[in-house]
Every structure is written in structure tokens, then in C-alpha cells.
């Protein structure tokens, strides 16, 4: 597959890894934000190819993991209602709320369905006028435009039985919170390439300047990530702190203007809670008042629920890159993908789940 296969080429990958080894002279702590990037690193064992000086820590880039407990509980409450068809991306189905998850709701009789695209949910609403269709719209800035289009299209068609339960989170505010922390260890950042495909790179230029931090916009294939790491290593060794774009085949400085337009038309920025981290101001999207009839929170009047995270779960520290999953006493014992205590073990590309699936007992490194 073009634009995939060549970025998984072993020869090219090894060449980049060698170039990294030849260049680093001292330890550096790098963070990749996006869960998909973490997944690639674990899946291809990229950390095994890096010199020991490079330490990779993993950021909060998993919208599934960080969707606040309250929104999960709201989703469960809505999905359990008779007459509702609750549609969600596959990723959210096993995320535990306070007492249940969408699969249990389904097992108890709720009509819960998986969709690949938000337009599938709109289609369902069109074809089932006597049912209420609710789409669970999670994601970062990458997914927000598509989720917004579902509402846009529903309004265009005059559908009266469609609504969006939105749980969008924005990357830069979370990164600011992490970088501003006195215990922050991150010296270089791999920025999320698909988020930047949509929103462009300007906010990362601000981050880089404000925190004097080298940032490389990285793609998602192994060659992309190794090259992004190499570019960061070079910046750090040379004492530079700039924004560079490794993923230039997809990312431009301005980003995708039509997508940004729909974001502005449908959403407004709001305060948002991040599971495991807490409330971060202006770090989420909610539907604008003119779309109130499509806002599932308003349509279903789900009230605020406060929730307690289990004591053993150190996800807050893991999501900020301060600890690794293997540092957690509960990892692999009390907390497993079958019985997750916290968010990062839940999502298929949450960092704890990635560690568990690919690297639980570290096999001997291959030379």
C-alpha cells in the first residue's frame, strides 16, 4: 500500500536508528503525545532500536483514555434508554464507567452499535425515524470535524431524531499543563501528525517558544517516528528549540481550512475534564447553542455525576510521562485489560494496554 509500505521498510528504519545512535552523546527524554504513535512504537519495538540515551515517555494522547468518567456514565445512561440507538466508535465500547460499560448495557438490552464513521449514525437516524439515534463523538481535533459533520448533515436534512454526545479534547492545553508542571521531564516532543493535518502547526510553534522546547510533528508509521526522534535528537544535541515537520507529506503550517471552518461553525472551546489528570481550562469542544437540539447532553438532561478513580491507578502520572506502566504496582496484576483499573489500560492504544499487549514480559532484545 503506497504511503504505508515504504514507511515500514526495515532497511530505511535501521538506517535512521543507526543515524540516531551516531548522533546522541547524552541522555534525552522525549515524549510522543498520540496513542497511535505509542501503539506503533510498541508494535514495532522501536524503543529496542534506539540507543539507551533516548528515553521515550508517553503522553495523554488517547482521547478514549482521557474521556472523563462522567461522560462515560452519561453515555451509559442514554444507551440504556428504550427507543435509543446508541452508536459509538469501537474504541469506546469497553471503557468502564463507574459501574458498567457499553457492552454490559447492550447485554442488558440496550441497542448499542459500532460505527466506523459518524455518517453511519446519521444514516441510521434517517432510516429509523421512530427511534432516537445518539452518536458518541469522542476524539481529538482529528476526529472533531467528522463528528461535527454529523450534526451539520442532520440539520441539513432536518432530522429530528439525531444527537451528538460530544467528548472532544484538545491537545495543546493538555501539553501546556504537563510542560508547566515542576516535575516535568520532557525535553523534546513528537507532536501528533494527524491532529496537525487538521489544525496546522501554529499552536505547536507557540508551545515551542513558550517552553523553549524542540518539537517535531511526527507521522504514525515506524519510519516516520524514528525520523521524528532523530530530528529531535539533532535539535537537542545542537541546543536548538524549534518546530520541525517530519510529516510534511500530510501536514502544512495552515492545516486543513475547510475542516477548521466546520469546527468553528459547530463547536466552541470549553473547559474540559481529563480522566486521570483533572480539569484543564479551554481544552475541549462543546456544541454551539444554535445546535442545542442536536446536543445529547441537553436532549437527555443527564445530570452531573462525580466519580472516584480507583486508588491503585496511577494513570495521572503515566499520562503525564512521569511514570511508565511498568512502574505501577498494579500493572499486569490488579490491573489488566480484562480488569482495568484506569483509563490507559482500557483503550486498545492506551499506553498501559500497549505495554501489556506487546511488552508485558520483555523478551530478550534482538541485536
Amino acid at each position: 500500500m503506497k504511503y504505508l509500505d515504504e514507511y515500514r521498510d526495515a532497511g530505511v528504519a535501521k538506517g535512521i536508528a543507526q543515524a540516531i545512535r551516531a548522533r546522541v552523546t547524552q541522555p534525552w527524554v522525549l515524549m510522543e503525545i498520540c496513542g497511535g504513535q505509542t501503539h506503533t512504537i510498541m508494535r514495532y519495538g522501536l524503543d529496542e532500536m534506539l540507543p539507551p540515551e533516548i528515553e521515550l515517555v508517553h503522553g495523554p494522547g488517547c482521547p478514549v483514555c482521557v474521556a472523563p468518567l462522567e461522560i462515560i456514565d452519561k453515555a451509559l445512561a442514554i444507551a440504556a434508554r428504550p427507543g435509543v440507538i446508541f452508536v459509538s466508535y469501537g474504541d469506546m465500547l469497553r471503557v468502564p464507567g463507574s459501574h458498567s460499560d457499553l457492552f454490559r448495557v447492550k447485554a442488558a438490552g440496550g441497542d448499542v452499535r459500532i460505527a466506523y464513521s459518524p455518517m453511519d449514525a446519521v444514516k441510521l437516524a434517517r432510516e429509523n425515524p421512530s427511534r432516537q439515534v445518539v452518536f458518541f463523538g469522542i476524539g481529538f481535533e482529528t476526529t472533531a470535524p467528522a463528528n461535527a459533520m454529523s450534526v451539520w448533515q442532520a440539520r441539513r436534512e432536518g432530522l429530528k431524531n439525531f444527537s451528538l454526545l460530544a467528548a472532544h479534547v484538545l491537545v495543546p492545553p493538555a501539553m501546556r499543563a504537563i510542560l508547566a508542571s515542576p516535575v516535568n521531564r520532557v525535553q523534546g516532543l513528537i507532536a501528533p501528525g494527524h491532529v496537525c493535518t487538521v489544525v496546522g502547526t501554529r499552536e505547536y510553534e507557540d508551545l515551542s517558544r513558550d517552553f523553549h522546547l524542540p518539537i517535531v510533528i511526527g507521522g504514525f508509521e515506524p519510519v516516520d517516528l524514528l525520523e521524528a526522534i532523530r530530528m529531535l535528537a539533532v535539535q537537542l544535541e545542537e541546543g536548538r528549540a524549534e518546530v520541525e515537520n517530519q510529516y510534511a507529506r500530510s501536514v502544512s503550517r495552515e492545516g486543513n481550512l475547510p475542516a477548521q471552518t466546520i469546527l468553528q461553525q459547530v463547536y466552541e472551546v470549553s473547559d474540559q475534564k481529563w480522566r486521570g489528570i483533572g480539569a484543564i481550562p479551554m481544552s475541549g469542544y462543546k456544541l454551539r447553542p444554535e445546535f442545542a437540539e442536536y446536543d445529547a447532553e441537553l436532549v437527555y438532561g443527564t445530570e452531573e455525576i462525580s466519580a472516584q478513580e480507583p486508588q491503585e491507578c496511577i494513570s495521572a502520572l503515566v499520562l503525564q510521562g512521569l511514570k511508565k506502566p511498568v512502574d505501577c504496582a498494579a500493572f499486569g496484576s490488579l490491573c489488566t485489560p480484562e480488569r482495568p483499573l484506569g483509563a490507559p489500560m482500557v483503550s486498545s492504544e492506551g499506553v498501559c494496554a500497549a505495554y501489556y499487549a506487546y511488552r508485558r514480559r520483555v523478551p530478550e532484545a534482538v541485536a
Partner: protein
Amino acid sequence: MCLAVPGKVLESYEVGPSRIAKVEFGGVTRQVYLDFVPEAEVGDYVLVHVGFAIGKIDAAEAKRTYELLEEMGAVLEAEEEQP
């Protein structure tokens, strides 16, 4: 996060106000909404996320940077072949 896959636009057409493309990924094709990449043409590669194209792959840029990466791989091979 953000699983987005590159695919080749085979054809495009209007359905009401939306522009839709038939995009090929390896050996499968799927309909993709082009609302965010309306300028995509047949033969272009687009990056697809949840049924929407979110960007067009810049073929020239990809080629330029990939050639540099390949050189790194070639350098390593040459080094490994040396006695």
C-alpha cells in the same frame, strides 16, 4: 490515536451537497467524504479518518524526503557490507 490511512481516489461524484469519492486502500475500496478536501482529484492520494478525507498527500514532498531517508538506509547497508 487518529488512525488515518492513505488511499487513492478512483472516482468522485456529488450526492446532494456532499462530494464523495471512491477510494482504494490496497485491495479494498470505500466511499469517502471529500468535504474537507474538495480539491482532491482522481489519482490523488488522500488521508482518510472515520470515512472523511482529512488531507491530501503531497506526493512531491513525500518523494523528496523519502529519498533522503533511503540514503540513510543505504549508508548503513554499505557500512555493514564492509569487512
